[in-house]
Symmetry: none
Subunit: 417 residues, 2 copies
């Protein structure tokens, strides 16, 4: 029992299927996200198979280093479900049948009209003196039990059972352990067009001297995010702490920030165009429909995006999109000139405020003697036309994704400036 | 050094972002799957934050219980990347600059035309006397190093870098450790158009009585796979065991099998069309470019796919694609009739052997009084025209993905029949 910052938790998943790679440990992620929100620090995740001896060894390590140990999986009816027996014996307790859980299991089998097998009875057993965490979706109840300064929480493996049980019953249990009422609040800043190490150089002194809020950079999918996490007595105070640091980051690297929290480049583009009442058409070559696909993944994209063309071959560029043959023969399909005509013609053909084009070499082979990764992005509007050149590296799909993101980034920049 | 079955491995992921729940530990799954294939048992997964002291404690536990310890993450250029320094100190070794890695990093910055920052030099350091595992995609090299009976393998965190490094360099290293020659061989059968439980019902007796090969069904991303894994003295023998079971599965559910192992619906479609010398054009409405994007993700797609149209609005369907206004006003944009004209006109406009179209309601709102999830897929060829109707459930993006997969599945069926 202590201040939030002092509570250390770890998550132990029990299940051989995880060790075989048959499933991925999304439960650990789910629980970690929720614990971060209430300010409980997660120090370790572990996965162990359906094996008593190895599970015991993991429990013993956990007891020494954590205040809260959360188990997922191994609560089912079959022989290899041994979590609760093992935890009970590790903390010197026995299992007892829980009436409510037993009633639920019996009525399930009555409802389905199928006979209940003996091993289903095992699901109704819980650790003595535990707090039962009801399972509103399935049969195996969860448990919370305290022994020698450590809180043990046992949750079922299937996410559709675990998630509601965790939200509705485990979170209130955990909140009751926390004596003070500090708030933990996070804000994610999303960057594009700058690498992780370049961004860190710009913010080096801040990262070195961080305390509250913490400053955590992360590179993922060709983007960089910085998560600012503040602890304070109130949300307002946490927000003020974050705003202070955020404003300094904006001074130094604001031109690379495109959004916050759950934003994506495409959601930001759709929102920006919608707010300004602008429509967009696309002519994609090397990205083959990816930009269009990203935009139309956003609900309500139809208000800004009537459609586009995938002009993968030169013939389609000339016949369907009307790029002049002379442009392609003189400069190549991968050129500023072709990108420009593609954007202009898309805008005209689809009668939109903005026309954007993209043509380049996604690889694996070079084209027209031009290197893999060379990409031209055209942008046409009533205010004038522009072409951007980018040079990308990586395998084909990464080049396509990064090219699409650059196009969306430049589009947003052009519209907001 | 021992028989395969005696080799015990564990996987340690280093990264606070995992403990915060910002990302899920897919690397552990990837590596576990691959180790299972070569018959190395994975006993534990762990995740630890970017913290030297806690990483040391995890390494010490691992040294006592495992023959092979695989680390993921923490090889990047920033301060919190401390995996290699920590492992080196745990096993009494130092770090040294690797010339090849350094050359690669320098040339990357020269190629991109941006200045190299000092912290990038750190990425070129490796543990003395290690075997460098080259990074063909990124900058941080991997390492394999042996000390006091334990093999340590260090891999970068980003899956795009880790996966090829593991396949091409770590797997051969691991195979060289195994003294006996039992072969573990897997084959994945890929199904579409049938649910996991329906497929399991068809194969119930086989799943109940499985031994060698094992039969492991898995539902993922609207598809179902069955992994057959055989152990035998030779690859031929393992293959024969797999073929026996596979042929029974094919008798019962062969019409739902579209591919094997790393195949995807789009890679299979590109290959099938290429083998038959057929070209395809697309007119996409509700999928907004997704099918086109899937096809163009396949290297060499240009030989079968010259291009397509995204006809998201009705106006673009009529003006650009030439669907008659009467068809849309009588039947609606989401109708068999519109799907048919879209496919026919795409085929004609783009002068291809096949024209495929898709129009439907991706949601979240219904359109034209038609329910979310209703999708029509049109297919036009010299041999005749067809329209398929599918009714899908789920959130917008899942409907778009499943609609695209149905279109690819029907396209493949039509071409091979």
């Amino acid at each position: 029992m202590g201040a939030r910052g002092e509570m250390r938790a770890e998550i132990i998943a029990v299940g051989t299927e995880l060790l075989l790679g048959q499933i991925v440990n999304t439960n650990a992620q789910y629980i970690s996200t929720k614990l971060a929100e209430i300010g409980i620090d997660v120090m370790f995740h572990s996965v162990v198979g359906d094996n008593r001896e190895r599970l015991v060894s993991v429990v013993k390590t956990a007891q020494k280093r954590s205040d809260i140990v959360i188990f997922t999986g191994g609560l089912g009816p079959t022989k290899d479900d041994l979590t609760k027996e093992t935890i009970a014996s590790c903390i010197g307790k026995i299992l007892m049948e829980n009436e409510e859980a037993m009633g639920k299991i019996e009525s399930y089998f009555v409802r389905r009209g199928i006979p209940m097998t003996e091993n289903n009875r095992r699901q109704a057993q819980v650790i003595e003196n535990c707090q039962v965490l009801p399972n509103d979706v399935g049969m195996a109840p969860g448990m919370a039990v305290h022994a020698e300064g450590v809180h043990y929480i046992l949750l079922p493996g299937p996410p559709k059972e675990l998630n509601p049980m965790f939200d509705h019953y485990a979170i209130p249990y955990l909140l009751s352990l926390i004596s003070d009422h500090q708030v933990v609040f996070s804000k994610v800043l999303r960057f594009f067009g700058i690498g992780e190490s370049a961004l860190e150089e710009l913010l080096m002194d801040m990262i070195d001297n961080q305390s509250n809020p913490t400053i955590a950079p992360l590179a993922k999918e060709s983007e960089v995010t910085i998560r600012l996490t503040a602890k304070a007595k109130t949300v307002d105070e946490a927000n003020r702490l974050i705003e202070g640091v955020e404003s300094v980051i904006k001074e130094r690297a604001g031109q690379f920030i495109y959004g916050y929290n759950d934003d994506s480049l495409h959601s930001v583009v759709v929102e920006t165009l919608r707010n300004r009442g602008l429509t967009l058409s696309l002519a994609e070559s090397c990205t083959g429909g990816l930009i269009s696909r990203m935009i139309t993944a956003v609900p309500g994209a139809s208000s800004i995006y009537p459609g586009g063309l995938i002009t993968y071959s030169d013939k389609v560029k000339t016949n369907l999109l009307g790029v002049t043959e002379a442009t392609i023969s003189q400069h190549g399909a991968i050129s500023r000139e072709t990108a420009l005509e593609m954007a202009q013609n898309a805008r005209q053909l689809l009668n939109t405020d903005l026309g954007m084009s993209i043509t380049g070499v996604a690889g694996p082979e070079s084209v027209e003697g031009k290197p893999v990764g060379l990409v031209y992005i055209g942008l046409s509007s009533a205010g004038g036309d522009q072409v951007f050149e980018v040079k990308l590296t990586g395998p084909r799909e990464m080049i396509q994704i990064r090219a699409a993101k650059y196009a969306l980034f430049y589009l947003r920049q052009a519209v907001i400036n």
